[in-house]
């Protein structure tokens, strides 16, 4: 295991040597770039990065330009995890055969996919990689929508969200299904380390990313990525909206070790109502009507129950 990078403060962290360059085409206010920088800046080790087709990929690797000053690969929408499985396996093979010498430091393998490629179209590939135990870290950039293609629903889209394929209208409050619980599903794979992170809580996030890098085997990180374009808040509100997400416990920050041990890693001092989080995002504005207000109340109840469940699970250590 390589020596863990020491990160003293936000200033040194945010001004670290960049392997993800500032020049890219992501929207102003997009949380993807914040997350990617927090992941890449958490280590000094050599990196191979793979990405699924999606916002991150189309905004950072448009020929003849690249935003990546590290080894990087994109194949398709659904297979970034398996692309990395191939890279990781080749690393193993070349080391076994002595074509990479044993004293060459081990690189880190990181895969980024949006919720579309993680929760939906690429799920089988991820599940396969986790079952086989490849030594890599999968980071889901979870913005709860197919943002790259203009805002269609995914199975991460929460109930009540208006998207282009689950639009709110006179006869609909938008998305009808609740968000898929990907963290539990990945923990159920027996992954050695699964965590949910938010880029605004950078200390918590970097701790988890570094733990992920130091863990042998497949690590899953679900990173909340507030989307200015599809959540429809102003580009300068990304961190504020992200704060509301974690402080309302809509995005609780926790980790699950070896599929069993659950630790809550952030407890808001003042829990804010779900209503406040939803109110900051026009994708939910139609819920603030007498007709659909009950959706917000039901959501609050679910969040309360979920928080109680997480605390109970943490307490009983199973």
């Amino acid at each position: 295991m390589s020596t863990q990078k020491v990160i003293k403060n936000l200033k040194s962290f945010s001004t670290a040597a960049e392997r993800f360059e500032g020049s890219h085409l992501l929207c102003p206010g997009c949380a993807h770039s914040i997350i990617v920088r927090e992941v890449l800046n958490a280590t000094n080790d050599n990196l191979v990065v793979s990405a699924s087709t999606g916002c991150l990929e189309v905004c950072t690797a448009i020929y003849p330009h690249t935003s990546w000053d590290c080894s990087w690969i994109h194949i398709g929408f659904e297979n970034s995890s398996t692309a990395m499985a191939g890279v990781e396996t080749m690393n193993k093979a070349l080391r076994n055969k002595g074509r990479i010498s044993a004293d060459t430091p081990q690189p880190k393998f990181v895969t980024f996919g949006g919720d579309g490629s993680t929760y939906d179209i690429g799920f089988q590939w991820i599940s396969g990689c986790f079952e086989r135990g490849h030594d890599f870290m999968y980071v889901c950039l979870d913005n709860e929508v197919y943002a790259n293609t203009g805002g269609q629903r995914s199975s991460s889209t929460p109930i009540g969200s208006s998207t282009t394929t689950s639009p709110a209208g006179s006869h609909s409050y938008g998305e009808k299904r609740q968000k898929k619980d990907i963290v539990s599903i990945m923990a159920a794979h027996g992954s050695p380390y699964v965590a949910q992170v938010a880029p605004n809580k950078w200390k918590d996030m970097v701790k988890k990313i570094q733990r992920g890098f130091d863990t042998e085997g497949p690590v899953f990180i679900n990173a909340m990525s507030a989307c200015t374009t599809e959540w429809k808040f102003a580009p300068n509100q990304t961190i504020e909206v992200s704060d509301l997400a974690v402080d309302s416990l809509v995005f609780p920050l926790y980790e699950i070790i070896e599929g069993r041990e659950l630790n809550i890693t952030y407890r808001p001092k003042n829990i804010v109502p779900v209503r406040d989080y939803l109110g900051a995002q026009p994708r939910f504005k139609h819920l603030f009507t007498p007709q659909y207000d009950y959706i917000i109340d039901e959501w609050q109840t679910r969040i309360d129950e979920r928080w109680a469940f997480l605390q109970k699970r943490e307490e009983i250590r199973i």
Partner: protein, 412 residues
């Protein structure tokens, strides 16, 4: 880790799958990622057995689908090492997206495609539906007609794929069951000779070379996409000469001679069939018999190389015949078969303008027999003598029910 040595006899009894497996073993493949599917499963099973017993020292990953198999091959290839896999039919259909990605990303990969029909109806037997599905995928596609050739082609595929002026993935085709499951005498190269022939893998833009970080799999739109695809096509078109060189080098080692278009008794042939796969072998027997018994001067032309298509060589082979039947072992889906298209296109700008017909045959593993081939030869002979096609251009042969034929020469 020291590899164990597998003692080979001068003549081994291998089926087509075992030929593939041994070519993989001798090529010292670094990563095999695969998903089993009939009839190519044994290629991977045999290789996994070599791995389990220490005869190979690469990595084997058994992934959860064929799409994942090719995805892992692309990742592993981009990482900087030799990769291979095998599939058939539905597996090929499932991985088709990644075939285009592999060739577009210029990743050397060897895919042993054991040809099998495509559902529906579900069918496990051999036809060329999957081979044809790869037509425009940008892969080099080579065809083996028997187990010996399966070994030879798969071994050569690595050398071709990784050549510095090619850097394109290669499919090594063989017929499902007829070749893949028929044990025949195979004369392999000695391990050290084969290994030297294939050569050491030379990394190009490897992801695991951290001194020179590279970006693989970029996006291009109307500003650059055409140039990328044009360059890819140029590499594919240029590969024919290199493939011929590899064939020549292989002949020096093995004594076995391969050409991009194979011919049988074409020197004095007046009529000919064009076919792929094991039908070539059956047809050789039929040709010998009918020449002896009925004096019909028939020959066979078979593209060894399906992609890049050897248009000039195919045309040259057919300059002296009066009638040609292009035999397509795949449901044509509302048009003429692929070989008919290729051969007609090859001939249209040449002095020779033989009658060209299209026979759809052998779907889902239906046998093409010597008896049926002799009937085909007789019709060709009759048409050649009459100077016109007696029926329609396209006929389905060997199918039960009412006769089915299409496309009248006179537009009737």
């Amino acid at each position: 880790m020291n590899k164990r040595v597998l003692e080979l006899k001068d003549v081994e009894v291998w089926d087509g799958n075992m030929s593939n497996s041994n070519a993989f073993r001798q090529a010292d493949v670094d990563v095999v990622a695969a998903y089993p599917i009939t009839p190519s499963t044994a290629t991977i099973e045999n290789y996994a057995t070599f791995h389990a017993n220490g005869y190979v020292d690469g990595e084997v990953i058994m992934v959860e689908s064929e799409h994942a198999a090719m995805s892992a091959c692309i990742g592993a290839g981009a990482a900087g090492g030799r990769v291979g896999t095998a599939t058939s039919s539905q597996g090929l259909a499932l991985m088709i997206e990644t075939l285009y990605q592999a060739s577009g990303m210029r990743i050397p990969v060897v895919l042993c495609l054991v040809n099998r029909a495509l559902a529906s109806p579900l069918n496990v037997n051999g036809d060329h539906s999957d081979l044809y599905l790869t037509r425009d995928s940008g892969w080099i596609s080579i065809d083996a007609f028997n187990s010996q050739e399966a070994y030879d082609m798969t071994l050569m595929a690595f050398k071709i794929s990784e050549h510095k002026d090619i850097r394109l993935p290669v499919i090594s085709n063989q017929d499902g069951f007829i070749t893949s499951h028929t044990a025949q005498n195979v004369r392999p190269l000695k391990d050290e000779v084969a290994s030297k022939f294939v050569g050491e893998y030379v990394q190009v833009n490897a992801l695991l070379n951290f001194d020179k970080p590279v970006t693989h799999g970029v996006q291009t739109e109307q500003d650059w996409h055409f140039e990328h695809k044009a360059k890819q096509h140029a590499a594919l078109m240029g590969s024919k000469k290199i493939i011929q060189d590899v064939f020549a080098e292989f002949k020096e080692l093995s004594g076995r001679e391969y050409k991009v278009v194979e011919q049988y008794k074409m020197d004095d042939a007046e009529v000919a069939i064009v076919c792929l796969g094991s039908t070539f072998e059956t047809a050789m027997l039929a040709v010998d018999q009918i020449r002896k018994e009925e004096g019909i001067k028939v020959g066979i032309v078979a593209p060894r190389l399906f992609r890049p298509f050897p248009l000039e060589e195919a045309a040259a082979a057919l300059q002296n015949v009066k009638a040609v039947a292009c035999m397509d072992r795949s449901a044509p889906g509302g048009t003429v078969g692929a070989l008919y298209n290729e051969i007609s296109g090859a001939l249209i700008n040449t002095p020779a303008r033989p009658l060209v017909t299209n026979l759809i045959y052998g779907l889902g593993g239906r046998d093409m027999t010597i008896v049926a081939l002799k009937d085909i030869f007789r019709t060709l002979d009759k048409d050649a003598k009459a100077g016109k096609i007696s029926g329609n251009i396209q006929t389905l042969v060997g199918v039960r029910g009412p006769a089915l034929s299409y496309y009248n020469v006179e537009g009737k």
